[in-house]
Amino acid sequence: MSVALQVRGITKRFGGLLAVNNVSFEVQDKEILSVIGPNGAGKSTLFKLISSFLRPTSGEVLFNGKCISGLSPHTVARIGVVRTFQETTIFRHMNVRDNVIIAHHLRASAGLTGFFLNSKQAIVDEKKFGESADEILEFLGLQECRDEIALNLPHGHLRALGIAIGLATNPKVLLLDEPFAGMNHDETTKAVEMVREVRNRGVTVLLVEHDMQAVMKISERIVVINFGEKIAEGSPQEIQENEKVIEAYLGSEDESIGI
């Protein structure tokens, strides 16, 4: 196994506030790795740093040995590191299939002019994207609502749509932003399966999550951060037994470690 993503001493400061402090870890190729931590621990900042939506104050993120920090998000996506968003971030007024089709943007072989002039390549692209979108929708169990306007989708489907959009970009690393938040038990079980399937397609998955139960079920390794610092890293088993982690979670009232 090789290393897909390397986070090296990454730090983010907002004014006087140190949101992420010197965090380092590695993500192996085709692994499912979760980043967890209590509320306000700096998870989402870290997430944005990795997907390059934020520029680190210091430190860097390497993908296949190349630094991707400081590149614009679309360039990072082009390289193969793609993030998803929490549920409301979809193309709300498009139908589900269009949402997925447009996410194939990176696979396009025709240029903008080609699209404008409707060149042969563009037509081929368009057809390919449609087929691929149908396939992804089928894969994630969304085929029935493919013509629905995204805005009207129920909760669980929105998550799936988010992942479908991510998948359509053909990522090498998929960063999932709290994919299980707000789901009930059954939905979570299904979603966990879905994420596994995604990994089985050969995609490295890094997720930031709240739901401990799901995390424990799905992750191969877990990184725990608190107050912006990494406090533990290891297999789910190791994390559950880690004193520091337990303390961190007990320290914050509204979180349960969920074992």
Binding site: S51, F53, S72, P73, H74, T75, A77, R78, V82, R83, T84, F85, T89, I90, F91, R92, H93, M94, D98, I101, I102, A103, H105, L106, A108, A110, L112, F115, F116, L117, N118, A122, D125, E126, I165, G166, A168, T169
Partner: protein, 323 residues
């Protein structure tokens, strides 16, 4: 492309290129001819505004680009003896270039902030034109000659406007042909993947960039096309009234372009054309009301918005394919 659509296009072309001018000529309505010309030109300018709406930006700065286009063309014609036909694309290009320079910083703004900055841009354009000497300062540029002949290898493609028997008809065709080209281009753009991408920007820029869309690039491109349209429209307007002043395209005009788009419907590529037609003609027909013109006009406008807040074209919403 469905047969029905092609048929629609053919009918539209027939109406615009043959029917309207023939009827106006037959009835000798010179005034309506020039109203139609203005509508065509305004819809070109408004189409540009519409495109910025399409990427999710409220643009109240189109007047600045119409003004710039007008000045570029006027200066080239009057001071450098350039043919109108060459000055026209150059005016558009100058606007596109300017819009890239301006757009790079300001397109990062969203919502009302972008709207207000563009509104300010209109005023900056006016004040700049007034302060520079190249533009003739407050005295503007007057006596712009009408377009000369356009020849290719001795073949006259477009006759000298000064020698036209019916100058109005000349301008009408110029404006309408430009409008047709403009909207054909817009239609193509919107229905290509490019339009798809623009829509993705409109709905969520962050998500768009996460799927690999070069958001900065795309919105600057859209803004440049938008400004290009503004420049072309402005240049022809300047040529028609043979003069340009710093306040030829004031803030009021910029607001009007925005209104045309709104009224036609922001989701429909032909919205700006319809909106311009209705509002412009509406104002014209209300001319008989004298001092009550504005009162009645604004009342009708408010009623229209109240019942069709998504634009005139939204009437057809249920049965129509989304653009």
């Amino acid at each position: 492309m469905s047969k029905k659509f092609l048929f629609g296009v053919a009918v539209f072309l027939l109406i615009m290129l043959v029917l309207v001018p023939q009827i106006l000529l037959a009835t000798d309505r010179k005034d309506l001819m020039s109203v139609a010309t203005s509508i065509a030109l305004n819809s070109i300018i408004a189409a540009g505004v519409w495109l910025t709406f399409y990427i999710g930006r409220i643009n109240i700065g189109q007047g600045a680009f119409a003004l710039l286009g007008g000045y570029v063309s006027a200066i080239l014609i009057v001071h450098y003896d350039v043919s109108f036909w060459l000055s026209l694309p150059l005016a558009g290009l100058a606007c596109a270039v300017a819009s890239v320079l301006i757009g790079l910083p300001i397109l990062r703004l969203r919502g009302v902030y972008f709207a207000m900055v563009t509104l300010t841009l209109t005023e900056v354009g006016r004040l700049l034109a007034q302060a520079l000497s190249l533009t003739g300062g407050p005295k503007g540029i007057t006596n712009i000659p009408p377009p000369g002949a356009l020849e290719f290898f001795g073949l006259t493609i477009i006759p000298d406007f000064a020698e036209l028997e019916n100058l109005r008809l000349g301008y009408y065709y110029l404006a309408v042909v430009l409008m047709i080209i403009c909207f054909a281009g817009m239609w193509r753009l919107v229905n290509s993947r490019l339009g798809f991408l623009c829509r993705s920007l409109q709905q969520n820029e962050e998500l768009a960039s996460s799927i690999g869309v070069n958001v900065t690039h795309l919105r600057v491109l859209a803004y440049a096309i938008s400004s290009f349209c503004g420049g072309i429209g402005g240049a022809v307007f300047a040529s028609i009234v043979q003069s340009i002043y710093p306040n030829t395209f004031p803030i009021q005009e910029s607001v009007n372009y925005m209104l045309y788009c709104f009224l036609g419907g922001l989701n429909y590529v032909f919205g700006p054309m319809l909106g311009t037609g209705v509002l412009y003609l509406g104002w014209d027909f209300l001319f008989i009301l004298g001092q009550y013109q504005l009162l009645v006009y604004s009342t009708i406008l408010i009623i229209l918005i109240l019942f069709l807040p998504n634009g005139l074209l939204s009437v057809r919403l249920p049965g129509m394919k989304r653009v």
